[in-house]
Subunit: 195 residues, 6 copies
């Protein structure tokens, strides 16, 4: 379903885009490191010794090869007609800078209006998607598109709507979903088989 290449590059700039959800900084910066003791889960990450910080810890390049581990900053490649399907970030606002190509982007406001606010972006354009709202990006050009996305939390979270609703594990009761989406139960079961 995702025809775009999502290239998350590891940037240890954990608190660099300080978010309303992140712990407040108590140091000049916190370069996040992965805590080796995997049995223990903290609310947040451990920081590198600040004296060992290097310029590379604050740096990211859209020219770097892809790496899928970084939630804060991302290079997103879109093949022609590729899409980043409807999704939300429960803990972050997103800022998207389009470096190449043409994208149709948009988000839908909450109940009761469900207003779609969308725009066609070209090179050099910047767009902002507010925290928690359903949004998407769609390459409507014949060429590749390349964007930089920054997210305002150390752990923004992603909920891809179609996957979460029709692809949960275990599946949601299909009769319930059929009613909620006004679809035939058979169609819902087919979707649950695909996702």
């Amino acid at each position: 379903m995702k025809s775009f290449l999502l290239a998350f590059v590891l940037l240890a700039l954990a608190s660099s885009l300080a978010s309303a959800f992140d712990p407040r900084p108590l140091q000049d910066f916190c370069v996040a490191i992965d805590e080796p003791k995997s049995a223990v889960f903290l609310n947040g990450k451990f920081c590198k010794d600040p004296k060992l910080a290097k310029a590379g810890d604050f740096y990211f390049s859209v020219k770097m090869p892809g790496d899928t581990n970084n939630p804060v900053a991302a290079r997103i490649d879109f093949a022609p007609y590729g899409q980043n399907p409807p999704h939300t970030h429960p803990r972050a606002t997103e800022i998207l800078v389009l470096l190449e190509g043409t994208l149709l982007v948009g988000f839908v406001t909450s109940n009761p209006n469900h207003t779609l606010i969308s725009k066609v972006l070209n090179k050099g354009d910047v767009f902002v998607f507010a925290i928690g709202l359903i949004h998407f990006q769609f390459n409507i050009g014949k060429a590749n598109a390349l964007a930089f996305a920054g997210l305002s939390s150390q752990n923004p979270g992603v909920i891809t709507i179609a996957d979460a609703v029709f692809g949960s594990n275990p599946p949601i009761n299909p009769d319930f979903l059929a009613k909620a989406f006004q679809l035939n139960v058979k169609v819902v079961k087919d979707l649950q088989a695909k996702f």
Copy 2:
């Protein structure tokens, strides 16, 4: 689509369930009032003169007649097989206390696992739905169900998934949605006509 009666009762306890998104209290409490000058939108509400606060400002009853204006506390009535379809609250965690009946409730975790965490609730049971996650309630009994829901923000927001995706105004590009949901374009257009 919503077979349940959603009875939001006006409770002027704006900051009573202080949330991470609400302004910090600077008074013993802030009993929200609607600011008459409708052309001006503040981030938050004005407060009643604290000296005029009454017990009724801190009180809510599931026996009260419905009122659709209060986002913080709600009585929810479910007809047999009625449902509260998949939705998220972008700015609040929800706590649900079941007073009568039997409900199947659940939520789906974020990418990449999409784990469905669900439970059948009976009278006296309490369940918590974390901020920003897709969740639902479904009356699986033959009798009515009655619940009290508290939300952790003065303005939690509600995004009903099916409405936001297929019922936005203007509609989202149906070719885009067909691909994202792996549905036939005709089915998407039918859904967009219904929602």
Copy 3:
């Protein structure tokens, strides 16, 4: 002094009623676990591996047997004329849902007014006590009363006024207390012996 049965049930829903005092969530949820290394005290708790979360971690029932370890959610049983004496929660707002019986509840505002805001609650009523204010509950009926209380912090704290003032360890200077409470020194010493 406490004639009511205070049944705190362990609900590992640490961040479920996210409070202004709790660290911001960086995960979908944090199911608190007790860190085994007792010599180290963190500001907050460690979280369970989110992949191991179960529905029971988000669930609480007033039908469950009592458990005294959970500060976030509680079943409170009141014998006839039983009371929850004047106390404050320095780090949480409290929401009380009355499931059975009749309670007189109230709180006092801060200086200089000291207004008592109180109300008689019946089954299905909900009342809110703002953070840091002195409040109480009193069963004024001849039958038992049963309530569910939710608190807006992972560690709300409780300060029972009479215990803290007259039962501290070591005791506060009785001459000082006699003057502050306008009581005879002998009465103060008697109270300090009782608490």
Copy 4:
């Protein structure tokens, strides 16, 4: 009851001791002003035009004559054996600098320990009282004492325990209080008449 002179001096340094409860600053500083439209209550104060700020807005002197309007900074004068009776600040931590004299100060930790942590302070000593805990100051010397107190919120609030419990308006049910404080009902009614 209060034999000390409490001299609160108006210091328009509203957000200068930024607290966890205060709105975040969006300017270099916010010199609070009183909003003339008394019918409207905001959560926080309006700020003076920053261009009009003067050094006096950031300045306070223990030599200044008393003024009872400022909640953030205070000069406190204690007559011999004068006291600041047990009280809490629901929205602020307090830092006290003793400039002259000798004070016995202390606070009591929350349930279940109720540990009294107290100390005799002399000139040049500084003591900190954590937010929400019951604390007091008592001049145990034969000379006057003079202290400077800073509070960590624009509106810290003060709850004088004896006044709030026995002097509320309307009064709390005396039977209830008698039981809670293990006092004779007649003693409670006498106290309620005095406070």
Copy 5:
């Protein structure tokens, strides 16, 4: 002194890069508007009626003509060898995306180390400057450079070090500055005349 063209473009995306210093959102978004009543200063801005929000409110383009009023997002043009001199943002972290040219960028950590962390950036590179630290950008190429800068607060503030120290109004005591900067008093007075 500033050879670069600083083109701040009005982007009414006030809370889009939600910062630790900004008030928490209580709406899907707050499109800031300038409140006409200039005599009143709030901590934060008023929001546009959300129903009137348009895509342009979330959009910014580096191709747009310069506008000096927007503190949140900026296009920065650097002439060859142009510079953005040492400065701090007291209320924001900055993220810089280089769209054209070559820049030397850097920041200095706090006492006692004063480590300079710097890097030469090329097209497509991104760098982060942590809140409150002294940082700078310098065009070291022979061509123009073009960057997009995002700041994590609605009102980040800028303190240009040389201007603030030597160009304050009224001037700081030159003897004091001479000692602090180990410069001759005459040199300090010359600087104060220039800035």
Copy 6:
């Protein structure tokens, strides 16, 4: 350069002056302790077992011998004409209580005004320096001066302007600095050699 004696005294009152940058308290108080495992850096400190807290943990005296480890509270001694040169605290507001002597203190507001707000303080005077702004203290009397300074964060940070700009390691490009400060390159290189 610093002719004053900076006597930071270890006061383990980590969160006592709760700041907007500090983690929210989840206990009555957090008496910070140094975590022995030096390879791991947390955002914040570990707390002492609250049951072991003693009065000394909340106490500080300007009579105590100097100790350079405590960032929250400080005794500052100024020799005649001694100075605390221009500096900022990126994570704290500072409150200064003058106990002896005469100081000229001041701070400069941010761009574009750079207003110097300064005042001569005498014994008993208190002054507040807002977070992130450049400020200084200068003993303009012939006698020693003695002050108590409290800072609103567990780790406020200090950036001494002259040291950070001219004494960074490695040094900032002198041509760049010469232009930014409108100084001769030779003068800049001399300064870089001194700092």
